[in-house]
Each structure stands twice: as structure tokens, then as C-alpha cells.
């Protein structure tokens, strides 16, 4: 039983990171019908930016977070502007291939700039381990879950209650109708990349805090799992991405504890396949068609 609760905590910990990254996939897919394969690399750059702020500039944690989220948001918007915007009207397959290209390009840029040797992320949060009824919870875990949940609530409020949030929903539902309301689609897409990239960067910071290593390829695996999380929850749905993220984190940690460490990733993908067989739109994916 102790093991079980320990894994619940671990699952919430990695789940909240997956959820943060998954939001970026789902937001961009919702608005451009594009799987932004470069999102894992934005997360990786987020980790490097936080490393720069923490290790070389020796800044406090709140500055590290703002610095990294801010720079990554700019990077994400730049990627959209340079690589995806010219392909807005092109077939989605061209955009998808471009996204894969951008992903490789960013990995190589980071390899050139930062080198292949992994960097060790300095400790930006206090690390105290609490022992509650034999279950170990570190302060880093609590901060990870707390920060993730805080930003997810912020995002929900933004999307459901602000003008710009409504514009995002409108564009993702019906671009032409949104334009007729006077919504600037380009601006809305930029804001979508800003938000998705900033949250992805936060995921990168928290991921590198948990695993301490930062390397140019570090975005690939969590990026892929977050993508799986977005699809599992229902791509295009923000609550779906959050739910999917937590589910993937939970499944992964439970599999590691009770089944096999080496098979944990395979089990994650297996569950995705099974869910999609029964509900192709994902758990919370909607498919309301307009009545004509």
C-alpha cells in the first residue's frame, strides 16, 4: 500500500510535467490542425534557458522561471512566424514535415550552442524530503505539482473568461467565422504559440529539476509522451491534455512499480492504442458537428 501511494505521488509529479507540455500540442493543434513536433525542443530550450539563468547568472528561482518562459515564448512565436505561417494554406502534411524539420534544426542549434555534454541543472528549489506515514514527498515534487496546477488554472481562466481566450476558441472552432467577428487570426495564432511555449518551458524547467540533466535530445521522449497524453485526452481539448498528462504520468509510474521498468513506455503506448480503438477522439475529445 505504501508503494502504491508512493507511486501516486510520483505519477502526479511526472504527470503534471506531461500535462504542461501536452497543453502546447493541444492548443496548436486546435488552432492550426498541426502537430507541432518542435514543441519538445521548445521544452528543451526552456531547460537550457533556465540553466543559463540559474547557473551562469545565479538568479533566484522566480527569475529563472520568468526568464525561461519568456525566452521560450519568443522562440515559439518565432518558429511559428518563420516556419509555419508561410504554410498556413498549404496541405497539413507539408506543415507536419516542416515541424519535424524544425525539431531537428532546433536540436542541432542547441548541440552547436550548448555542446553535446549534458549540463547539470543547479538546484533552484529547496530540496526537503517530508516523510508522511512512510511515503516520501520531496519539496520539489510539491513545487512541481503546485506550479503546474497554478498555471493550468490560470490558463483555464484565460481561455474561458478573457476576450483573447475567447478569440482563441473561436479561431480554433471556425476560422472564417472568427475573422467575420473582427478577430485577427495571425495575432491569435502568435498568442497561442506564446502560451504553449511558455508552458512547455515550465515543463522543461521542472523536468530538468527532477532529473538534473539537460541535453539537446532531452525534449524527444517527454515531448513524445506529452503528445501521447494530448491524443489520449483528446487533441484540441485543453482539459483533455491536462487529464491525459496526469494519466500518462500515473500509468507510467504504476507500470514501473508493478510490471516492469523496461516495459513502462510500451505500456503507455499500448494504452493509447486501446483507448483510441474505443474512442478515436480521445477521452474528452468532442466531435459536435453543426446541424445544417
Amino acid at each position: 500500500m505504501k508503494l502504491f501511494f508512493q507511486q501516486v505521488i510520483n505519477g502526479l509529479n511526472s504527470g503534471s510535467i506531461y500535462a504542461l507540455i501536452a497543453i502546447g500540442y493541444t492548443l496548436v493543434y486546435g488552432i492550426l490542425k498541426l502537430i507541432n513536433f518542435a514543441h519538445g525542443e521548445i521544452m528543451m530550450f526552456g531547460a537550457y534557458f533556465s540553466f543559463i539563468a540559474a547557473a551562469t547568472m545565479d538568479m533566484p528561482f522566480w527569475f529563472v522561471i520568468i526568464f525561461s518562459m519568456g525566452l521560450s515564448a519568443i522562440l515559439g512565436m518565432l518558429v511559428e512566424f518563420v516556419a509555419y505561417r508561410p504554410l498556413r494554406q498549404a496541405p497539413r502534411l507539408s506543415a507536419l514535415i516542416t515541424a519535424i524539420g524544425v525539431s531537428m534544426f532546433l536540436q542541432n542549434v542547441s548541440l552547436m550552442v550548448f555542446g553535446a555534454d549534458p549540463k547539470v541543472m543547479p538546484r533552484i528549489f529547496p530540496n526537503v524530503v517530508f516523510n508522511i506515514f512512510g511515503i516520501e514527498i520531496s519539496s520539489i515534487t510539491l513545487i512541481t505539482i503546485g506550479l503546474s496546477v497554478f498555471f493550468m488554472i490560470l490558463l483555464e481562466l484565460f481561455i474561458s473568461h478573457t476576450k483573447q481566450g475567447r478569440a482563441m476558441r473561436a479561431v480554433s472552432e471556425n476560422q472564417d467565422a472568427a475573422i467575420l467577428m473582427g478577430i485577427n487570426v495571425n495575432r491569435t495564432v502568435s498568442i497561442t504559440f506564446l502560451i504553449g511555449s511558455a508552458l512547455g518551458a515550465l515543463g522543461g524547467i521542472l523536468y530538468s529539476t527532477a532529473y538534473t540533466n539537460i541535453a539537446p535530445t532531452m525534449g524527444t521522449m517527454p515531448g513524445l509522451k506529452a503528445f501521447v497524453a494530448a491524443v489520449l485526452g483528446g487533441i484540441g481539448s485543453v482539459p483533455g491534455a491536462m487529464l491525459g498528462g496526469f494519466l500518462i504520468g500515473m500509468i507510467e509510474n504504476m507500470s514501473k512499480a508493478y510490471i516492469s521498468t523496461t516495459w513502462a513506455d510500451a505500456i503507455v503506448f499500448l494504452i493509447l492504442i486501446i483507448v483510441l480503438l474505443f474512442k478515436p477522439t480521445g477521452i474528452l475529445g468532442k466531435d459536435i458537428k453543426e446541424k445544417v
Partner: protein, 234 residues
């Protein structure tokens, strides 16, 4: 108010609109009638900037709006109710109306105008929390019109509001179009249902494969033999 001169629109190589001229004067209901594929939707989409004119000039209240970006067209006072309604299916009725007021900042006025839309279409008020995608076709049409009214337009472009609706609903919507016009909004009504459209319009144009074939007052068009045989069923 709206003046269209020598408008030409292409889809790639397809020449969909072949140099049409028409105008809408302040306070009028003008209808553009024509069969399926005549180019009615293309014309409206070009006025609202979603499609680009290859040649020609569209001016509104004396300003050339031909090359204005589509999201800036509502600022001029032109609202477009698109073909097939295009409501935001996963937003509530109320949120759809709020979306209509996207370009406005006058919060109190917006609230008043939502009430005004609800008095035009009481059924929308009853369903204000319901997702637009779950409304009936007629209700969605009412919502699409209400949403366009929320931009506070001087000119309302309506693309086949009768499409797919039961005759009794068509009558209801057309009488509401007259009411809206009576309250001061100029209307350009695109219709295949020439009979109903001419009954509420002051003037009309007949569009045939991208060319304007005929124009006149509604009475003239309704008594014209060509129009009667081609569009009014004898």
C-alpha cells in the same frame, strides 16, 4: 452606401465573378438572387475581404474597402451572416453573441444589445446557456443573425438565411429581417428563394454564372417573364 464596380473574382483559373456592378443605398433591402453556383456567396465573401478581388472596386460610405484585411471589415460597419450559419458550435448562445461584440469595448451597450437580440429572437433567450451546436437549424440562423447584429453594423450581408429551413421558419426569419431593416440597418440579402426575397426587398439583382443579368425594383422583377419562369416557378 455600398458600391461595387467591375468586380472580378477567381478561384485559381475559375472566373467566378465576371465584372459585376451593383449598389446598396442607405436604408434599403437589396437582394441578389440567383441559382446555385451563380456566385452569390463569392460576392459576399469578397465584400467582407475573405476572398480577394482580382479586379474592381468595392467602396463603403465613400471609402475604398477592396484591399482591407478581412478582420478589419467589421470596423467599417459591415457584418456578414455566412452561408450555413457558421455559429461557434461549442460555445453557448450567449458566448456566440459576446463573440459578435468582439470589436466593441462599450460593455453596457453590449449588454443592452444582447437584450435587443433576445427581444428579436426570444427563443435565443430561452436557450442562452445551450451550446450553439445543439440548436436547430432555424435557431442557429437566428443566432448567426444576432451575432452579426452584435457588431453594430450599418450594413448586414445575409447569405441564404432560408437555406434548409421549414417554410414557417423562413417566414419568421424574413419578417425579422424586415424588422431589423426598419430599425435602421441596411441589408444585402443573397437568396436562391427569389420569391420570398423579392417580397421583402426594395430592389434586386439577378446573378447568373458570375454576371448580373437583370436589375430593378422588386415589383419589376416579380412581374418580369424571365424571372418568373427561371426563379419564381412560372
Amino acid at each position: 452606401m455600398l458600391k461595387v464596380k467591375d468586380l472580378n473574382v477567381y478561384y485559381g483559373k475559375i472566373h467566378a465573378i465576371k465584372g459585376i456592378d451593383f449598389d446598396v443605398k442607405n436604408g434599403e433591402i437589396v437582394t441578389l438572387i440567383g441559382a446555385n453556383g451563380a456566385g452569390k456567396t463569392t460576392t459576399l465573401k469578397t465584400i467582407s475581404g475573405i476572398l480577394k478581388a482580382e479586379k474592381g472596386v468595392i467602396s463603403f460610405d465613400g471609402e475604398n474597402i477592396t484591399r482591407i484585411k478581412p478582420h478589419l471589415i467589421p470596423d467599417f460597419g459591415v457584418a456578414h451572416v455566412p452561408e450555413g450559419r457558421q455559429v461557434f458550435a461549442q460555445m453557448s448562445v450567449y458566448e456566440n453573441l459576446i463573440m459578435g461584440a468582439f470589436i466593441r469595448k462599450d460593455k453596457r451597450e453590449i449588454a443592452n444589445d444582447i437584450e435587443m437580440v433576445y427581444t428579436y429572437f426570444p427563443r435565443l433567450k430561452e436557450r442562452h446557456k445551450q451550446l450553439a451546436g445543439t440548436l436547430s437549424g432555424g435557431e442557429q440562423q437566428m443566432l448567426a443573425i444576432g451575432r452579426a447584429l452584435m457588431t453594430k453594423p450599418k450594413l448586414l450581408l445575409l447569405d441564404e438565411p432560408s437555406m434548409g429551413l421549414a417554410p414557417i421558419l423562413v417566414d419568421e426569419i424574413f419578417s425579422m429581417i424586415q424588422t431589423i431593416n426598419g430599425a435602421g440597418t441596411t441589408i444585402l440579402l443573397v437568396e436562391q428563394n427569389a420569391n420570398k426575397a423579392l417580397r421583402i426587398a426594395h430592389r434586386g439583382y439577378v446573378l447568373e454564372t458570375g454576371v448580373i443579368k437583370l436589375t430593378g425594383t422588386s415589383e419589376e422583377l416579380m412581374s418580369n417573364d424571365e424571372v418568373r419562369s427561371a426563379y419564381l416557378g412560372g
